[in-house]
């Protein structure tokens, strides 16, 4: 090995010193530390340090997302061809190897999903680098995860220019104005998603953008459906809903690019819990929260409070546990609610925070007439309230300390004789 590698390492080391204190230093360091973990040694405090750094932590999340991304690339094609067959009244049998994991399906993924990833990373990292250079701080790793999340939570037919505009908005307004990674109040990926939703509502909330080409073909003889499960439920089109529970669980349904496979998301979530990267408290309590809300709605339907003609009947009568299988709920719980920066930071707070996310997601999902999905709104809302939750959790600790203080008998300062006297009494 490696005289060559040594010289490469050496050369980079020399370059690092060359760039030190120069404008481009953050940009160079970002690339350098990607290739080599730095030669920094400890200067104050503990002389040895644990093995984890932020890059490693973020990398874990990306690893947990990769299966989802791969699946979504196949699913993009699968949904496309399935919609065409459905439009032509051709019945098809599902088979994992023959109709799902096919090159044709994957090709659609390459031409539709991959560009989303490239644009998301390209634009987002560019903004990050520019800000790092202007403000003279290191490029922090936050966007590595955000950049992967964004393409997975948008509809497949999102135009790339829209995505680019949204990413710029999300990174600048959602993160950089607060001071960069670790300082933001709202989850940047969800800020981007919310921007897309509110800036281009007619495009984003239709029932066509979920399947490749569904929008383009509208009104032509080749029109295909792009409706999601939630969309159908919101329209009370229960009859059209021909997806089995296993389809929904494994993710062979239309939806935002990466949100469909609850199975893979579950695996990713278990991986993140096992590697101690994401909070199991948030995930578990969010699942509980969504089940509770779903149960309440089911109960309302069972008690006959609303009729089948009601606008909400479709979603309210949807069995409570199925909410976790459709839409972005599972994805949001595992990958977005657990964002440590924007979530609750105390362990007790995480329980409350997670529960309310699950609870609100299902509530908004059912009651939102414009767009039958509530996860991103619920998480953004709870992002705003997370500091408040933490405030009360921390306050409890403070009050405990104050109470202890009030009950304590503070000794008189100084005075030796007093000390002696007190001692005499206690003996």
């Amino acid at each position: 090995m490696s005289d060559k590698r040594l010289t490469f390492k050496k050369r980079l080391h020399i370059l690092k010193h060359h760039y030190r204190d120069k404008k481009m230093a953050p940009a160079f360091n970002a690339i350098h530390t990607f290739l080599f973990s730095p030669d920094d040694t400890t200067h104050s405090g503990a002389h040895v340090r644990g093995a984890d750094d932020l890059k490693r932590t973020m990398n874990m999340v990306i690893m947990a997302l990769l299966p989802v991304l791969l699946f979504s690339m196949f699913n993009a094609g699968y949904q496309y061809y399935a919609a065409i067959d459905a439009a032509n009244n051709v019945s098809r049998e599902f088979s994992l190897w023959d109709t799902f994991l096919t090159w044709d399906n994957f090709w659609i993924g390459i031409i539709k999903v991959l560009p989303l990833v490239v644009v998301s990373y390209g634009v987002g990292l560019l903004v990050e680098f520019i800000f790092a250079i202007i403000k003279g701080h290191e490029v922090e790793e936050g966007y590595l995860v955000t950049g992967m999340l964004v393409p997975l939570i948008v509809p497949i037919d999102t135009p790339l220019w829209m995505l680019a505009v949204a990413v710029v908005f999300g990174v600048v307004i959602g993160k950089e104005v607060f001071g960069g990674t670790g300082m933001n109040i709202l989850n940047p990926a969800l800020t981007i998603r919310a921007f897309l939703f509110f800036a281009y509502p007619t495009w984003m909330s239709g029932d066509k953008v979920w399947v490749y080409q569904a929008v383009e073909r509208t009104g032509t003889a080749d029109a295909i459906s792009g409706e999601t499960v939630l969309g159908a439920l919101a329209q009370n089109n229960l009859a059209e809903l021909n997806y089995s529970v296993s389809d929904m669980f494994f993710g062979f349904i239309p939806g935002s690019v990466g949100e469909t496979s609850t199975f893979l998301i579950l695996l990713g979530g278990l991986f993140l819990i096992y590697s101690k990267i994401a909070s199991w408290r948030i995930m578990l309590s969010a699942v509980i929260g969504s089940l509770v809300m779903g149960l309440i709605f089911n109960l309302v339907v069972d008690m006959g409070v609303i009729s089948e003609a009601s606008n909400f009947y479709g979603l309210m009568s949807f069995e409570y546990w199925k909410h976790l299988l459709v839409g972005g709920l599972a994805f949001g719980i595992v990958y977005m609610a657990t964002d440590p920066v924007t979530g609750s930071q105390t362990n007790k707070g995480k329980w409350i925070y997670g529960f309310l996310i699950g609870f609100m997601s299902v509530m908004i999902r059912v009651f939102n007439p414009a767009y039958p999905e509530g996860v991103f709104l619920a998480i953004l809302l709870m992002n705003v309230f997370a500091p408040t939750i933490d405030h009360y959790v921390v306050k409890a600790n403070i009050n405990k300390r104050l109470k202890r203080f009030k009950n304590a008998t503070i000794l008189p300062k100084d005075s030796d004789s007093k000390a002696e006297e007190l001692k005499a009494e206690t003996v």
Partner: protein
């Protein structure tokens, strides 16, 4: 009634190079040094001039804010150097030792009969007072305060630190004398803790409240024990003394002589034969480091343990409070894709392709690399896993960083010392300097309120 302490949260960092329990006598050091950084917050006023001859136990300087508090020379010899830094701040004093040592005789002291005031005056006069530290603020105890209790931890959990049970062997008499004297200084109790299964000489002393401690580091830190037994409220003061300093105090009370000799552990993976040495406070580290041999040239000498010690050098000197000297490899090298590859040779509390959880007993050869760059606080919930105190660690750190005095107070800054944050600093993914943040927070609070 004694209360036992069981700690669950924490982390034992097992390192290669623990000191073998045999003791050698270190070569006599030619030059001894007192490093003023050891006495945090003390402004020294010199009593002797450069070039003067001093005896062992003779005062070198006093505390500017308390003239009675004297700091003495560990050996007899000539004060050859007063090293000054910016604004003539005294950094260190160097004493060239005499061939034959002469010691100041303070005479016998009847500890049993002495009053609290007499004990205080005696300890201040003889230079033993600086061994007593106080919380809040983690500084040398203010003799004018009235501590609600005194804590002594005889349980060692810090990585590679000198084993208290071993270094205290045979020192029962000295320890008892010191405990008796300290007992007069507080209306409260003298809490002494030992390991659950230890045979510490501390366990048999009279006039103490004995506690058995078990659990991973930081169970052995006095801050953890205070928090579990008798947490500090605003306005209260607790004093702490480390056991090996008790021996010096005890010997002075018994014999009237300030004996700076102590048994220290020389440890770390860069030391060829790590073991214990008897030497004196201020001795040059090289006098025992090279006797054990070193593995390579690129190592760091630490005055203290790897978590809380001060960076030193082979020609540095044993610190006033230290009974451990550690030498570990410097980590000033790059690692290709170090952030992405699986890690088998480093310690971690996560399982992010780090595998130290597989074998908790494995010993590691850690170096001084930071394993990543400084970042803003991002990840939450990880400090709490290794922080057993009833305090929110990250919130307290943030309060210190933004200098919010009210919050620092409310969140419990009075109860902690920088060393309590060594473990959270160790595992910190954002590589934040926790101990420095806490130290600066304490200094600010002391300046504004204390």
């Amino acid at each position: 009634m004694s209360k036992d302490i069981r700690i669950r949260k924490g982390l034992n960092i097992n390192l290669v190079g623990a000191a073998e329990q045999t003791t050698a006598k270190a070569v006599l050091s030619n030059v001894y040094a007192i490093n003023l950084e050891d006495f945090h917050g003390i402004t020294p006023k010199m009593l002797v001039k450069q070039g003067a001859e001093v005896k062992a136990g003779e005062p070198l300087f006093f505390n500017k804010s308390d003239e009675a508090m004297l700091f003495v020379s560990p050996v007899s010899g000539e004060l050859v150097e007063i090293k000054r830094g910016a604004r003539r701040k005294i950094l260190s004093l160097k004493i060239l030792a005499d061939k034959t040592q002469s010691i100041v005789e303070h005479g016998g002291f009847d500890t049993e009969k002495a009053t609290s005031a007499e004990v205080k005056a005696h300890l201040l006069k003889t230079g033993c007072w600086p061994f007593i530290k106080q919380r809040p603020y983690d500084i040398i105890a203010n003799p004018d305060t009235n501590p609600k209790s005194i804590f002594i931890s005889g349980y060692t959990t810090a990585p590679l630190a000198a084993d208290c049970d071993y270094v205290l062997q045979g020192k029962e008499k000295e320890l008892q004398a010191a405990i008796t004297a300290l007992g007069k200084l507080t209306p409260g109790k003298v809490h002494v803790s030992v390991g659950a299964n230890s045979s510490s000489p501390l366990a048999g002393l009279n006039g103490i409240e004995l506690h058995k401690v078990s659990g991973p580091h930081p169970a052995g830190l006095v801050g953890t024990q205070i928090n579990k037994l008798d947490p500090i409220n605003k306005g209260e003061v607790v004093w702490t003394v480390s056991p090996q300093d008790l021996v010096v105090i005890g010997e002075l009370l018994l014999t009237g002589k300030f004996n700076a000799e102590r048994k220290i552990a020389l440890a770390g993976s860069s030391v060829k034969a790590p073991k214990y040495y008897t030497t004196k406070i201020g001795a040059e580290i090289a006098t025992f480091l090279y006797a054990s041999g070193v593995n390579n040239d690129n190592f760091r000498v630490i005055n203290g343990d790897v978590l809380t010690g001060a960076k030193s050098r082979p020609d540095g000197h044993l610190g006033f409070y230290n009974n451990t000297v550690t030498a570990i490899p410097e980590g000033d090298d790059y690692e290709m894709f170090g952030w992405a590859l699986p890690v088998f040779n480093k310690v971690s509390t996560t399982r992010a392709l780090t595998f130290s959880w597989l074998n908790p007993k494995k010993k590691y050869d850690l170096n001084t690399n930071t394993n990543g760059e400084h970042r803003a606080f991002v990840v939450t919930g990880q400090y709490e896993e290794v922080f057993p105190l009833d305090i929110f660690p990250m919130q307290l750190l943030k309060a210190c960083m933004i200098k919010d005095l009210d919050e620092m107070e409310q969140l419990g800054l009075y109860e902690v010392a920088p060393e309590d944050f060594a473990l959270t600093e160790f595992i910190c993914i954002s590589k934040q300097p926790h101990q420095k943040i806490i130290r600066e927070g304490l200094d600010l609070l002391y300046k504004e309120i204390g």
